[in-house]
Amino acid sequence: EAKPGCPSCGMPTLQPDAERAFLVELAKQQILQKLHLSEKPNVTHSVPRTAVANALRRLHLGKARQEGVLGSLSGWEGPEMDEQGYEIISFAETETTGQLRFQFTRTKGQALHIFQAHLWLYLRAHRGSNLTLRVFLVGQRGALLSERQLEARGTGWHTFSLLPALQGFFERQERTLRLELACEGCQPNATALADDASGSHQPFLVAKATIREPGHRVAKR
């Protein structure tokens, strides 16, 4: 026969409102703690929904076409099964100088270990034209991050691997990443976002990482 109160500890059953308030607070704390966030992020500038939709669609397509390069957003085990894997998509803000600027945040003391980092760029080009595109890291004496010779299939998206150089950027705990592009063989404004009002051609960076907490011992099996 069900007795009143909690069958485990005998405490009086919470009133529905009190139970709801308690569980909602508990859910918030659990999620923030597991995402290593001290509070709900205050999303400053909103990213155009078309840019978000485009990136998610490309990454899912990327899974079909280029297994292992991008993977997909659904389910990904970090290399160490007991480490939590992260996938980060960062949308470029374009500065007047034509540089691409990406912002990252890191909780103090956390070591973000990057496994994959790719820049997605939308290029306008004539079919069959031969291009050489270079991606430089602004600041560090213009370190060359990535270079690709490609025969353009016409206008479309291209990916550029940014490792291992980018690993150093994240280990330096910097927040702002600035990239500069140089292209031989490109038509003027090949990468410009001038007429991309909808944001669907906004360049974006995809990184796969795990977070190592301070004092984290990686148990090598």
């Binding site: 999303v43 500038h45 912002q103 945040t105």
Partner: protein, 114 residues
Amino acid sequence: SLSCNQNSNLCCRKDYYVDFRDIGWNDWIIKPEGYQINYCMGQCPLHVAGTPGMAASFHTAVFNLVKANNIQTAGHSCCVPTRRRPLSVLYFDRNSNIVKTDIPDMIVDACGCS
């Protein structure tokens, strides 16, 4: 595993769903729409110690120990999660980057007696 209802005091899983729109979190969490914060509650009298939610053989082993050692109420069995699953989250961080991660063992799927 039992889902809790009013007619039993036995160990069961109590389901509770928090919709992110109701708490104003849908502006930064893109997916999922909410979080199933289930929890375990209920009694584990000795004759159900080690009940399934886990391997039945474990239950038999515990039951034989209870009989063989005539364990009274000295030790007691607790109602605990016996199976959990990850919560996949897609969210905006404060720089409006999209982050996707699977938080392991976040959702209680089954409860059983230790």
